[in-house]
């Protein structure tokens, strides 16, 4: 399976996920890494969730990568992934690595609309652990699937619709 892990953040978690997926024999790539942008600094001062300028570049990267599924690590990443996924008929998963925190769910402009859009339109929402699962039920009123490791994440991907995996990959 060709998997795009979409994450603008660089906290080590997405990198570890990509490595784990590769160890299981899948073609995994990390897309959407944010490059510092002057425009994003201006947008941030005006209260926006950032990095917004990354979104078009991420959509382009997804188009070039031509993956079977996109795993978005945040609602902002999901916005780019959904733009791509709904045009090419590929599934998009929203991954919650950390427990949602009320203080940060709507704290910047567009944050809440990105979140509600991701929850409504992603093909699945997954939580990395029980605490995240419980917090998602409390703050997002959703029931994410539990996927504590790469293996269980693959099982989630397999249950989703979209194009079949390419020949020669798992």
């Amino acid at each position: 399976m060709r998997i795009a892990v979409v994450s603008h953040a660089s906290d080590g978690g997405p990198e570890r996920l990509v490595e784990s997926l590769r160890e299981l024999g899948h073609e995994a790539s990390l897309l959407g890494r944010a490059r510092p942008s002057g425009l994003d600094r201006v947008l941030r001062r005006r209260g926006f969730a950032t990095p917004l300028t990354q979104v078009p570049r991420t959509v382009w990267e997804l188009k070039e990568a031509d993956c079977d599924v996109a795993h978005a690590c945040s609602p902002l990443d999901a916005a780019a992934a959904l733009w791509w996924g709904q045009r090419v008929g590929r599934p998009v998963v929203l991954g919650l690595a950390d427990p949602p925190d009320r203080a940060r769910l709507a704290h910047r402009r567009l944050e809440l609309s990105l979140l509600t859009s991701a929850l409504a339109r992603c093909d699945a929402v997954v939580a990395g652990d029980d605490a995240t699962h419980a917090a998602a039920r409390t703050w997002l009123a959703c029931e994410p699937r539990l996927a504590p490791d790469a293996g269980s994440l693959i099982e989630v991907f397999r249950t989703l619709g979209g194009s079949p995996p390419r020949a020669g990959s798992r």
């Binding site: 979140l115 509600t116 039920r137 409390t138 997002l140 009123a141």
Partner: protein, 320 residues
């Protein structure tokens, strides 16, 4: 929940399911010792109601009841009326689905109600501190209210149920200002409005585009209906004509724009608007931001005044 509730919290909800969930979470943390309940009247489908309401711990506790209505028939006044009529407590607290009450909110409202039998109780409302960064947007909607104010908004207010019944609740013909109208009718019957400044609610901070906020504010044209029903409210209005001082300054700006070229001294009428507008963001460099935002702010406020002018024609009373 055992025993009859001492207080009911009534919420009208539409189009904000996630914020409603956050409100319920805050209500679940209320430090109020007596039995109490929540009644939500909403326009959500079954799946959303199940996810947001029925799977909430307050529902499992037997403390939360909800009623779905056809979205086509929904309005804040109608939903709140259904809510208080379904409620069982003698004291009815209202808040909105885009609010987050402090943990002592209900207790403080009820304390004030018990200390002033028959009175309406208004608490303090502040912009949500979690969403403070959004205040950087040019067009923002939030609330900052120190009780007792002239409007007595339902984001943070308590009414005795008996008073609501005697007043027939909110006026469902009012498209806007139904909460103001209810408080005016209560006052006319001799029921005072008392402050509970420690009953705090935090109101969402939401940014809009200029067209979006102009569309949202179109409903304020119906405030003319409120003033027609309650001419005594003109005592609260600048020069008994303008809804607030912003509108008074905006009309000055409009007069300056219209007549300043033909008669230059007319341009001085814009000074109060410019002075307030430039100070909107604070001192120093922030005046530059305020200056850049001024055209958009002026467009919004001129649209509001124009809306009220149309509303005045429709409802047969002059309000700007």
């Amino acid at each position: 929940m055992e025993g009859s509730p001492a207080a009911s919290v009534v919420i009208a909800s539409h189009g904000r399911a996630l914020r409603l969930r956050w409100l319920l979470n805050a209500l679940a943390e209320q430090r109020f010792e007596e039995p109490w309940e929540v009644v939500v009247v909403h326009t959500y489908d079954e799946e959303t109601a199940s996810r947001v309401l029925e799977r909430h711990p307050l529902h499992a506790d037997g403390r939360l009841r909800h009623q779905a209505i056809d979205p086509a028939t929904g309005s804040p006044a109608h939903q709140r009326n259904l809510g208080w009529q379904l409620a069982r407590a003698p004291l009815i607290a209202f808040t909105d689905d885009d609010c987050r009450p402090d943990a002592d909110w209900l207790a403080r409202l009820v304390d004030a109600a018990n200390a002033h039998t028959g009175a309406v109780v208004q608490g303090t409302t502040r912009p949500e501190p979690y969403e403070h960064a959004i205040m950087a947007a040019p067009h923002v909607r939030t609330m900052q209210i120190d009780p007792v104010g002239p409007y007595v908004q339902t984001c943070n207010v308590l009414y005795p149920r008996s008073l609501l019944a005697s007043l027939d609740g909110f006026d469902e013909r009012a498209v806007a200002g139904e909460d103001v109208g209810l408080s005016l009718r209560a006052r006319a019957r001799g029921h005072g409005v008392v402050a509970a400044p420690d009953a705090v609610v935090f109101h969402a901070v939401e940014s809009h585009t200029l067209p979006g906020i102009v569309r949202q504010n179109l409903k304020w044209r119906h405030l003319a209906y409120l003033v027609k029903q309650h001419p005594e409210f003109r005592a609260e209005m600048p020069l008994r004509v303008f809804w607030d001082r912003d509108h008074l300054r905006t009309v000055g700006l409009m007069a300056a724009l219209a007549g300043g070229r033909r008669w230059p001294p007319c341009a001085l009428l814009a000074l109060p608007y410019l002075r307030t507008g430039l100070g909107r963001r604070g001192p120093g460099r922030r005046r530059l931001v305020a200056a850049a935002e001024m055209p958009g702010q002026a467009a919004r406020q001129i649209a509001e005044v124009a809306g009220l002018a149309f509303g005045s024609l429709r409802h047969g009373t002059f309000v700007l």
